[in-house]
């Protein structure tokens, strides 16, 4: 809460409204439970606009109720002809001027917030991440760190993280309701920017909000907010991840071989140039499989064999390997845990 917006919050009406609304929804998902600079700014703007609107609604409803009760035709009035009033200049002026004032009250903080949220990175030292959307997953490239990952976006608490958004195919939209608003990811040169500044640690639900094909509703991702120290740790772990490292178990070793023969043409491990499919460097740490399934071996196998049944319209080919091979690949993928810092450490 900054500046004059903070004063508004003190007002009783807004405060109580705020209380009622913040009862709605689930933590880390709902825009009504803001835990980030952007989300809080927008929440305050929302509360202000709702308060103004409720005032207007009460005035309209008061006149409305009075009119409907008082002037309902009564028995014996069937032939009564009311006075045919033409209008009233004074009233017309009142209900033109008062709304204009109310709208100005709303317009000023709106414009301020628009410019506030449009801030772009001006310092080389800022954390800058390129976000690329594709049907139906998200790629995150950490510009300065030479880290690529997908689906789980790690950011430090309390720091402003600047995102540059683009799309590999159709238009998508990046939304993490509890931390900030949303912005579209466009194909081509129309790159967009936004920033995230989380005020709490946690695993936040992110969603695609622009219709992008059959699995639009399944294009979830996670934003993992960790402490700045943990974030540093994660960055160095990711940078040091060895894509060639031999897994410990024999099954996983076989899985690695199968993976390299069948999957590596699309999926990258480590910070190589990104493939057409999600980067899997830290797959074993992921909060979800494919953004929506619990990270169990069964789910991974199921996904490898029938990706189209789980996310209709996605481009991963089904049945590239048989069920036994899929099991081994799953073993291999699940042990890809380059960092101590995982979604669990954020909770």
């Amino acid at each position: 809460m900054k500046g004059w917006m903070g004063k508004f919050r003190a007002l009783f009406l807004l405060g109580s409204l705020s209380l009622i609304l913040s009862g709605c929804g689930v933590d880390k998902v709902s825009a009504l439970k803001p835990e980030g600079y952007g989300a809080e700014l927008l929440y305050d703007l929302m509360i202000l606009s709702i308060a103004i609107m409720i005032f207007v609604f009460i005035v309209v409803m008061a006149i409305y109720t009075f009119v409907l009760i008082r002037y309902r035709q009564k028995k014996g009035q069937e032939d009564y002809i009311p006075k045919q009033t033409e209008g009233n200049k004074m009233l017309e002026i009142i209900w033109t001027v008062i709304p204009i004032i109310l709208l100005l009250v709303l317009a000023v903080p709106t414009v301020t917030a628009v410019f506030d949220l449009a801030e772009e990175s001006s310092d080389e030292a800022d954390i800058r991440i390129d976000v690329t959307s594709a049907q139906f997953w998200w790629q995150f490239d950490y510009a300065g760190e030479e880290i690529s990952t997908s689906q789980d976006l790690y950011i430090p608490k309390g720091e402003r993280v600047y995102l540059t958004m683009k799309s590999a195919d159709v238009i998508h939209s990046f939304w993490v309701p509890s931390i900030a608003g949303k912005i579209d990811t466009n194909p081509g040169d129309n790159e967009n920017t936004m920033y995230l500044e989380a005020t709490e640690e946690g695993v936040y639900w992110g969603q695609c909000t622009e219709l992008c094909g059959p699995s639009h509703s399944l294009m979830d991702f996670r934003v993992v907010v960790v402490s700045p120290e943990e974030y540093e740790q994660w960055v160095s772990d990711m940078q040091n991840a060895d894509p060639e490292a031999e897994p410990e178990t024999e099954v996983a070793q076989e899985g690695k071989e199968i993976f390299e023969n069948n999957c590596l043409s699309c999926h990258a491990i480590g910070s190589q140039p990104k493939g057409v499919g999600p980067n899997l460097t830290n797959f074993g740490d992921r909060a979800k499989v494919a953004g929506i399934l619990e990270p169990t071996k069964e789910n991974i196998v199921n996904w490898i064999l029938h990706p189209n049944e789980i996310k209709p319209g996605n481009t991963m080919p089904p049945n590239l390997v048989n069920e036994e091979e899929a099991g081994k690949v799953a073993e291999y993928l699940m042990q890809l845990k380059p960092s101590e810092v995982t979604p669990e450490s954020a909770q």
Partner: protein, 619 residues
């Protein structure tokens, strides 16, 4: 109703009559029936959507089919239900309200209907020909340009053809209202419904060409290898968003303004009072129409236009709330001091005020561009536009149908059944959509095939689905009312509601030439003025004379049918050039019928003065 006519003339003759008619009153019937059927279809699609969302992780329909459902629900409701139903009202009422015998171009009026109808058919044929469009009613590129089925091709051709019909209709009403008002009816004596139709027609004239251009670009991208929206070849997908919304936002006002007119008539009639602040109302209508063109980019706050554009469009959007507020207060003060008769038409109008106020309030909230970063493309938006489009346009159409039914079909709709239809629809509407505001804020994006467990969205969605069933019940009772009224209700008088405007000065339904003698208008609420001076009828502005009438024609039907055929040719020539033959056949039919129309003299006929005197209008 028309069934009586059908029995007298036989079904074939009855059909032929409607296929060839150029009478605005019969074209109104055509628009009403066709728009009504598409409304039921769009409603069915809505029910399927709501059933899919009744519980988390539901598998009632597949993801692909769901996207087809939402696309067709939106497209059908806007282009094939709301628009034609409003055209039905415009056709039924405007010529009567201004004391005219028909619209300016009766032939074009018929052509406009048939173009709309065949465009709608093309769009819906997609269901049976490999899949409906699935890129949303907004059809954002490149999702639409790369959609693998022919669905989007059907969308492009269907909307292009029906859009041409709408444009023709809009021009027709502009000319009609400018040229054909009865003597004495100056602009500032026009009934407010006519005023709103006038402004709406202007909006159609300026907004639809943007859609036409956008659809042509998309058609060439999909069918003839152009790359307007292909970023790999230097195209730009944002252009489609702009073109679509430069049309799309005025379209919202094209829909809402005529029902503002309806409510003005209904409030005034059933409060027995002249419309409060008539000139302010006219001014507000024109201002809304004008501002309607200045705000399209508020649909694109998250597209990435930058803070300057976002701020400008936020402020212009908020500005629209002012004239809209003026209207709400003027309606309230129209009722103030009057004697309110709570007929069904009035009930729908009274219900509209709180509903639309909520819709307008959420509209202002959405206009706050930054806050829209949270609302955009969530159920909050879905709730908002259903509050204005159902709570405004659909309530308004119901009010108008109850109000003008006697003028259209000669019988007053049964009042009791009317109210029985109202309550489930009204309650169901709020159940369905109020909760959706919260669903959106709680993190539910729109156009989601399924929502997942654990996001706290289960109860809200269940309530919403239950509400939808209540709305369906309301519609079914209304349909029953239509049948019941046709069978059981007595014939209506010329002026069953103690009306104020010219349409109530002639029989219900009016004779095919409307006015035996053109009336003389002496002020606003022309009939009310005469009645309050103790006269029973309007003073004629001309002596009884021959009336010049146009002949019916099948040519508009054939002309539109040609485009219908050509449409399929365009869609399928991508697969195989043989299909181009359909393009040539279809365009041949259309151009041929245009040629026939041009060279054949059709001077119409006269109803003779003697016949008018003898039959008292019954020729």
């Amino acid at each position: 109703m028309s069934t009586a006519v059908a029995q007298k003339k036989g079904f074939g003759a009855f059909m032929w009559d409607y296929l060839t008619t150029v009478d605005h009153k019969k074209i109104a019937h055509l628009y009403l029936v066709a728009g009504g059927l598409f409304f039921l279809l769009g409603g069915l699609e809505a029910m399927i959507i709501r059933i899919q969302l009744i519980k988390p992780d539901n598998e009632f329909i597949s993801a692909g089919l769901y996207n087809e459902m939402i696309t067709m629900h939106g497209t059908t409701m806007i282009f094939l239900a709301a628009m034609p139903l409003l055209f039905a009202l415009m056709n039924a009422v405007v010529p009567l309200q201004i004391g005219a015998r028909d619209v300016a171009f009766p032939f074009l009026n018929s052509l406009g209907f048939w173009l709309f109808f065949f465009g709608g058919l093309i769009l819906n044929f997609s269901w049976f020909m490999g899949g409906a469009p699935d890129a949303g009613w907004t059809a954002y590129a490149p999702l639409s340009t790369t959609s693998p089925t022919h669905g989007v091709d059907f969308y492009v051709m269907g909307l292009q053809i029906s859009g041409a019909g709408t444009l023709i209709g809009g021009i027709n009403f502009l000319v009609t209202i400018v040229n054909m008002r009865a003597p004495g009816m100056s602009y500032m004596r026009m009934p407010l419904f006519t005023w709103t139709v006038f402004v709406t027609s202007t909006l159609i004239l300026f907004a639809f060409p943007a859609l036409t251009v956008g659809l042509f670009l998309m058609m060439f991208d999909r069918m003839f290898g152009s790359v307007f929206f292909d970023v790999a070849s230097g195209g730009n997908v944002i252009i489609w968003e702009h073109l679509f919304w430069i049309f799309g936002h005025p379209e919202v006002y094209i829909l809402i303004l005529p029902v503002f007119g309806v409510f003005s008539e209904v409030f005034s009639t059933f409060s027995k009072k002249r419309l409060f602040g008539y000139s302010a109302m006219v001014f507000a209508t024109v201002l809304i129409g004008f501002l309607g063109f200045m705000v399209w980019a508020h649909h694109m706050f998250t597209t990435g236009m930058g803070p300057v554009a976002n701020s400008i469009f936020a402020v212009t959007t908020m500005a629209i709330a002012v004239p809209t507020g003026i209207k709400i207060f003027n309606w309230l003060f129209t009722m103030w001091g009057g004697t309110i008769r709570m007929t069904t038409a009035m009930l729908w109008s009274v219900a509209f005020i709180p509903t639309f106020t909520i819709g307008g309030m959420t509209g202002v909230m959405l206009a706050a561009a930054a806050a829209d970063y949270q609302y955009h493309d969530t159920y909050f938006v879905v709730a908002h536009f259903h509050y204005v489009i159902v709570g405004g346009v659909v309530f308004g159409i119901f009010a108008a149908l109850h109000y003008w039914w006697p003028k259209m079909f000669g019988k007053v709709l049964n009042e009791k059944l009317g109210k029985w239809a109202f309550w489930p629809f009204f309650i169901g509407f709020h159940l369905t959509f109020f909760i959706q505001h919260f669903l959106g804020l709680m993190g539910m994006p729109r156009r989601y095939w399924k929502f997942l467990d654990g996001q706290g969205l289960d109860t809200g969605n269940l309530i919403s689905t239950i509400g939808a069933f209540f709305m369906a019940l309301g519609v079914i009772i209304f349909l029953w009312n239509v049948i019941y009224t046709a069978m059981k209700e007595p014939k209506a008088s010329a002026d069953p509601f103690d009306g104020r405007t010219l349409e109530w000065s002639i029989p219900s339904p009016p004779p095919f030439y409307n006015f035996k003698q053109t009336p003389l208008v002496r002020g606003l609420d022309a009939l009310w003025i005469e009645k309050s001076e103790g006269k029973k009828a309007m003073t004629p502005a001309e002596p009884l004379g021959d009336i010049h009438m146009p002949y019916g024609s099948i040519i508009p039907f054939v002309m539109s049918f040609g485009l219908f055929i050509a449409g399929f040719g365009f869609i399928y020539q991508v697969d195989n050039p043989v299909w181009l033959s359909l393009v040539f056949i279809g365009m041949g039919i259309t151009l041929g019928s245009m040629f026939v129309r041009s060279v054949k003299d059709d001077l119409g006929y006269h109803i003779h003065k003697e016949d008018l005197e003898k039959g008292d209008g019954q020729v």
